[in-house]
Symmetry: C2
Subunit: 389 residues, 2 copies
């Protein structure tokens, strides 16, 4: 008998999250009685808002537990269109909205309808690590484009002009960005989309942190073009991470293909989650979410100057999400070892740059302010002591 098993080569290119090793160490330390300040978690510490929970329970009581259409509940697609109208003054045909199992499902569908083997997608580096893997999943190649403070850690049209080649079919932007929290302005979104479209490609705009902006607001790509893919999610701003629910607003040319692919690979997104999400746009939920946004702002307004005071460099303008991407080169040339030491010796968990790309990861770490202000203060104190010794 042949003892070997068939194995896909793609798995050699799909990296695990390095922070997972740190998390396992953090858990072991906690089990041994140590107190850990968690500044590594990419998930809001707030529970799902009460009106959404209530709508979820009501849906279960009413027996809403069977499949929905592949593109989602019509009422939810209309509610999302209403949200764009009210919050962004943009009119979106609900027929262009596809409900997905999280933004992860959205990324799969989009890469699935776009990519042929060998096709390239331009991605900002640093950026959300899974984007590259969604591209790789469909035998495409994510090309990381180094971005830094000079463009607020975002792709600009010039990057597309320089990096686009015959194999390139799309470019991604995330606004606000994970890990940097920076925002892309409307004019830049328009230029990015135009640069992609001029080359026969498309812009994919990840707007999952859009509701979490603390200075001004983050425009949607929908306000400048109907020819980009826009991804959003109920996870971060709406506090529904574990429900796994997101959406795509697609150029109408792709709607049929997305419907077909979703029907085949997902059947549909979670039905209880979709019914619960109908309450996500209510005024009561809105009030709760705005209070939470204020709390995140307060945390950022504490943590950003505190980190700068300690000697971290944060040259960009982190206006949203709940992350600060800090240059730690004043202290180390190995951010992975730095994060490990910080955890072991000071009980503070952060994410090393290596999880976000290949552009100077050793000089960066990500701080998440997904924990209470007093815990952030404790974390800063511990950092201060750690950096002095």
């Amino acid at each position: 008998m042949n003892k070997s098993f068939p194995t896909a080569r793609r798995m050699g290119d799909i990296a695990p999250f390095h922070v997972m090793d740190l998390l396992a160490r953090a858990r072991a330390l906690e089990e041994a009685g140590h107190d850990i300040v968690h500044m590594e978690v990419g998930e809001p510490d707030f529970p799902t808002p009460e009106p959404v929970l209530q709508a979820g329970m009501e849906a279960l009581r009413a027996g809403h537990t069977r499949y929905t259409p592949a593109t989602g509940l019509p009422a939810l697609r209309e509610a999302i269109a209403g949200f764009y109208e009210r919050h962004h003054g943009v009119s979106v045909d609900p027929a262009r909205i596809v409900i997905t199992p999280g933004a992860s499902g959205a990324l799969q569908l989009i890469m699935g309808v776009l990519l042929n083997p060998g096709d390239r997608v331009l991605l900002p580096d640093p950026g959300y690590p899974c984007n590259r893997h969604f591209v790789r999943q469909f035998e495409g190649e994510g090309l990381g484009v180094p971005v830094g403070p000079e463009t607020d850690y975002q792709l600009v049209a010039r990057h597309l002009e320089e990096a686009w080649d015959a194999r390139t079919v799309a470019a991604m932007a995330a606004s606000p960005s994970n890990p940097t929290g920076t925002v892309v302005e409307a004019a830049s979104l328009e230029a990015l989309s135009a640069a992609a479209r001029e080359r026969g490609g498309v812009l994919v705009a990840d707007e999952i942190y859009q509701g979490l902006v603390y200075d001004g607001h983050a425009p949607t790509a929908l306000s400048v073009t109907d020819e980009a893919f826009v991804i959003n999610s109920f996870s971060k701003y709406f506090g529904m991470t574990g429900w796994r629910l997101g959406w795509i607003v697609a150029p109408e040319e792709y709607v049929r293909a997305l419907d077909k692919l979703a029907g085949n690979i997902f059947l549909s997104a979670s039905t209880p989650a979709q019914h619960a999400a109908l309450a996500a746009f209510s005024p009561e939920t809105g009030e709760i979410l705005e209070e939470r946004r204020d709390a995140f702002r307060e945390r950022r307004d504490f943590l950003l100057p505190a980190l700068r005071e300690l000697g971290f460099r944060l040259p960009g303008a982190p206006r949203g999400a709940f992350y600060l991407y800090a240059d730690c080169s004043a202290f180390t040339d190995d951010s992975f070892a730095f994060a490990g030491d910080l955890l072991d010796r000071a009980g503070v968990a952060i994410t090393p740059g290596i999880d976000f790309g290949a552009h100077r990861p050793d000089a960066h770490v990500r701080f998440a302010y997904t924990t209470r202000l007093d815990r952030l203060a404790e974390g800063v104190e511990r950092l201060d002591r750690f950096l002095r010794t």
Copy 2:
């Protein structure tokens, strides 16, 4: 500006469900006041069992709405291992169990860790149509192997010996099968797995209808080998379709890769669904599920002889799932047109063979007994009148 959009070639190979057109016509007829007997629906008509609904509501009350580990809640993986121990007398290490967003998620992960571009997977034809598309999604090729009454519409080891080539890496079996309801015996599962392993490949056993068997029981591939992938789901037997929750039991060699891929493309399966599913194995739920199984058996025991009486040929032994795959060649050589006529003229919705493969689809239709006995009786009466005119 270049007005064309990039498009993946795979979308040309991924077929929509043809029954969807019939469904749209059925809905239009219903809106015009006509009564339609639905025998096309691949989803139980029973709601999620009350104890599972209650556990779901309790989970929401308790705020279980954040991400779980990528492989799922440890308690649920252990509960599933317990289920194999109690119901099949098979001991499975919970570490080999990966919780997925439905069996759809399971199929994605398995094809994702197995397939390189051009790799082949042998599939029974007729079979579940999406299987071919999960293979195509990862740039593989699903090779339909014609199966008929002589092997109870199932692959047997001989098929693998004949069809396996250098590009083949896996074969799939579904027991009970959609659309035929036939079961693979343990000896055949063992021979299928051995035939695949001898050639350096693996067997992928789809057991999502395993709980729904009406004569004897359907053995799990786990009872004969640790080297096959086994897929199961909370959708069909456990009545949780819309929750989107399933699982894989994997050869231990693949667990790390599945964990890594799941963490990247799904993050995790639905958290409320996972907590609800913890109640799926309780004795109270078990009683409800067994009553439902009795109801399905009663329906099959009515519908199978009634269809034979009408002149449909059903030579296999449909022992499970909730489908009858009927040879309609006594009435038509175009099952698609036949299903359309039956809907328009008699108000009975069924699924034409074309949705299940390329092997004599024109001679077959699928009847689903996912509706009450009195409605099935009404459907049979209408069929009788339809076939006489």
